[in-house]
Symmetry: D2
Subunit: 384 residues, 4 copies
């Protein structure tokens, strides 16, 4: 059998293409645009807290919560058209001033809040009151009613992570306003943290959740910090991300929400992680610490409360060149990629630290191992 | 607590916004664009075979397979910017002429082929040779090597369904050319249909697949037709889609591929289905028959081999007003929506026929049932 | 640290043990009985059809179905106290004479019927009428209403496989008689085979089963034979069991019932399988053919319609020394062992053909691989 | 169709039965023994600590750990033939004296230890050193190497829970001695509690476990007590068991081990729970507190450190008639029943508090709801 070898004139082809257009048909062989591996439109970027905080305070002077459903600053990746920090997820700054509320609503998009400043404000999720303190992670997942309030005397500022770009791409957005400005707090509902916050312990009398997000909507920083410090004392962790914990759904062991995975990691003083990349976009928030990351060859310097973004399939390595530990919060769309069997990850130098072997196994199955391998078990912390 | 009530001048705000822009920050409270439910950019549309076939033959005269990696006509939804029939999936027409091949490659996108014309061509998937006859469904899933060949003396034409728009949105595309033009067929590998094609029977000696797509890459039309006719004789089926079968992964019972679900349905002479909508886009191909569908209020007339598209969250109902059965093939991105907990469906009149109750359960859990209910079991075919 | 070295007199100890007994306490260090690997009380055994059939016919002369809830002959393993062929499962012979019925009831135990003789009788399961022909597998799973009837003019005889010994061990038995002698057949319910019997095709309008057993309650021999012959023509199969298919639940891809897995295999003329053993007990029925099996060193000769049993963790190999294919049906409690993480399997010579790697992986995880390995993919049929 | 009506003489039948016996066949219609619901051979029973402790100390005087692989007192249910407290599980008392060890071995049976007395001894599981303090739960699951040591100056006494009767019933036992008396502790392995002990946080660098048991082998009492007290302050819990937590596998959210589920519950001063029963046997240990339980109509009085057993499908209710909280540890074979689809539960008065709806759903599916219903969400604690 041999390839066909048909020739036509440019004029013939142009005439033909015009006909096709009129019939809402496009020839696929023109244009091209196939790439061998993902190349994000987004670029690595850092937003510094020294810039963000004054602008958030200024927003609070200029715009009232009566005028804005939410008073939010969108961190906008310079190369993305959709006004988001990363391809599928926003990383925004929200500020609620003393005495203000953010009205109750719900939407198909899933959201997380990582508290940056202020202690004593709260979020209500489906009737449960969640306290907010710096470093705490608060979830308001897909289609849960939520409102925020600040009854303290200082501003509450937090990082908002949402999958709204993804939901918009997928044309799956629903939105509904609550019939009142704020939800009534359900007495006796109990705090999600009281019920689900202790490791390996689960309330038996609670109905099995019908939804796929974590019923543990509040992950206090005090608990995460204690866990990281305990692991540091154990000299634990891996080479690719130091000591890194995923915030999980205690009912399934899976990610906190079906579309967003959340992590907290500790980079010990002097620690430098090994470069690796994965098919997911990641936004980082520096809870505390100072250092820099090399992201796709670009150095991003960061310190307390900065936000930076790592586009998909871009090598990253983190360096804590200070003399105190750094704590990074991050969130990614890895659960989306894994659910759709699109996830891969790769370490420079061939060491592999990941939790999903889907791609690696697929490649082995087809006889084309891409050279990833799993890290050994514990004991391999990349200490200098 | 009361809402804040801060006022600022337009000039102040514009000055502030300019500052934000220079820092790659965008105020979220301008613009808006929240919708209460999904509104697709795509429109309902039908492409008639009487137009498509001549253009496919003309393409075969104008362009060789040496020039085009694939000789494919993209059906282009009039309102979509991305040259695809639907939001996340393409529905294209591919033609391979006698003696031609389509070279071996693989990609992160998943593909299906529904054979329209020609019998005796074949597709090779990871070394297994799959025959192609009209109405057959052939899968070339995510990252499988595949090439096509036509060693008959007539054209082979098929419908190509791929999730490439989705993979592009998610910035997850990988692509690789095979080291040869065509794969060698593995002797003794056995046909996927021989191994997995009998209902409720599975080869024990085969390793558990490491991938999530169906190992049954070939679903012959002869088998599907027999099943539909057996069910019609049983007077089976439901009100929303008549007698409809999903092509499944026999190893898991799940969809054929993690991102695309495929269906075949029989509309009996005179049958009219009940209007319903779901959060997924759907492309239909009329294997045979004549009738029309009301899609979002638009009547789309169709007959043998036509292709039509139903945007997400758009009511559809199908009418077979002829005196012979109609067979519709369709494929949707419903598995994506279900995996990400974004799926919903709704029937006009409150009858519910769906397989996913995720949303309904979520709503019940939050005390806000949206009024969907499950259809009763069998025996409720909506015959006139 | 050193071991304690305490000595006491025999008299002291006996006195102490007597005290313990009076308090319903037993010292654990006397008695022992730990074994390094499973040693079944059951022995390999074969029951010949030449003996069974006359006795079944005789039973039909001596006992009426008015007197016996079921007219069943229990095949009794010579070394088992519980009157069953194997440790957790019975393999019995049931006979229903022309005009007789077996009354409707249900129980927590799961049952299968493999039809040996007679064509035209039927079983009703939850209102669905299932036809019975020689070689057909019919399921009456856990807590399904079922009754049998013979409206032909010859006897209906089948093999009954049930997990009643298991259910009794676990003290989990429930039993209920139907309020009538026979169930009314639900018109329009459709046959389970029409709905679930085609490979890779599944009715969309049917509600997702709430139970874990297969909704495909009828697996015709005609279909299984066709599949096996197609695979034989493909020269497919593995070394350990030749061409062997598991009867699966098409909704999940899992075993037919949560406690019993069912298989059919074809031994080609002259085929000899490789010896292997697994942690499950297995009962075989020879649908047709003639040969022998070496089971734990004992030769069991078998021919058409014989039944034989292989105790747990006992090496078996099958030899078809005839010049026609042999078809063996078998059922095991492997799903129990797998569900409880107790399954292992091992091949003599180190080749491993199994679907569960639980134990092997566990051993690898603990650094103690027991030397099992997976068979290669297809193409390795152990033909002489 | 009518029932057959065959009559035979007693002599004929006896002669026939003798023939059958000689062929290893038993008529199934004699004997009977079908019961409508489970009736355990075991009886409700309590073993008092005031009896157990002296006998354990006496054992330590009479028998050395050189003589006994384990120095264990079996609590023996008066009506069970197998020398175990309950049908599928033992509840034993083990004592290790200062300076003693219990040698390293592993077995297919799964084990738990609930520490009763002594602080500072430890268990080594697959090289990880687990500390033991009163009330702590320590797991040594299926096929993990484990040894115990007491390097304190007082006795270490704990409750041993194992599924050995189950493994013996299923003829699935494997056993292996370690090549040394004790395992070497792996430096840097990190403590399982450090890695998995914080709720909703999971180490990313750890390989996905290949086994199904919890990687969190140590559940400290300090943590469980804190969780219970936090829930009590929240006025949380359900009517059937007060405030009850299941010890879970944090990787899956499932039970601690595939065959044994473990629980801890707090009965508040004056609390009386509602009677309910389930298809599983349960053994209780009173960590602290005083009260009684009505088990199948029998009153069992208990106080600190007593052990009592509840046979399957037996109504139980607990009463804390003291003025301090009581803490009960319990373990059951419910995961076995659920895995095999044999689980049911029922509350007196129709309130249902369970996590498995398998049976209830199955019954609904077959149109025979057994009247169970789910408890409402939180806030329904049965306080007087």
């Amino acid at each position: 059998m041999k390839l066909s070898d048909i020739k036509s004139s440019e004029a013939e082809r142009q005439d033909y293409y015009a006909q096709l257009r009129s019939q809402h048909i496009t020839p696929a062989w023109i244009g091209g645009g196939i790439t061998r591996e993902p190349k994000s439109k987004a670029v690595p970027w850092v937003w510094h807290w020294r810039d963000l905080r004054p602008q958030a305070m200024r927003a609070a002077q200029l715009v009232g919560t009566e005028q804005a459903e939410r008073r939010v600053l969108r961190l906008t990746n310079p190369e993305l058209p959709g006004l988001s920090a990363s391809n599928t997820m926003v990383a925004n700054i929200q500020i609620v001033m003393p005495g203000e509320i953010a009205r109750a609503h719900r939407h198909a998009g899933s959201a997380l809040r990582l508290i940056i400043e202020g202690k004593g404000g709260y979020t209500v999720v489906n009737g449960a009151r969640l306290p907010m303190a710096p470093g705490d992670l608060v979830l308001t997942p897909n289609w849960t009613w939520h409102d925020h309030a600040n009854d303290t005397d200082g501003p509450m500022i937090w990082l908002d992570g949402l999958d709204t770009p993804l939901v918009r791409m997928l044309e799956a957005g629903f939105y509904e306003e609550y019939h009142k400005e704020t939800q009534t707090i359900v007495e006796g509902a109990g705090s999600p943290f009281a019920k689900y916050g202790e490791g390996g312990l689960r309330p038996v009398w609670e109905a099995e959740p019908a939804t796929r997000y974590s019923p543990l909507w509040h992950y206090p920083m005090s608990q995460a910090r204690a866990a990281l410090e305990r692991l540091a004392a154990d000299r634990s962790g891996g080479p690719l991300d130091g000591i890194i914990l995923e915030y999980t759904n205690p009912v399934t062991g899976g990610p906190a929400m079906p579309t967003i995975a959340c992590y907290i990691q500790m980079l010990r003083a002097g620690e430098r992680t090994q470069a690796h990349r994965s098919v997911c976009c990641t936004n980082y928030h520096v809870i505390e610490g100072r250092g820099y990351s090399i992201v796709g060859g670009t150095r991003l310097d960061w310190e307390d409360k900065d936000v930076f973004t790592v586009p998909t399939w871009t090598f990253r390595e983190h360096v804590n060149d200070s003399d105190r530990p750094a704590f990074l919060f991050s969130f990614t769309d890895a659960p989306v990629m894994k659910a759709l069997d699109l996830y891969r990850e790769e370490a420079k130098g061939g060491v592999y630290d990941g939790s999903s072997e889907t791609r690696a196994r697929a490649d082995r199955a087809s006889g084309h191992d891409v050279g990833l391998r799993r890290d050994g078990a514990a004991g391999s912390a990349a200490r200098p």
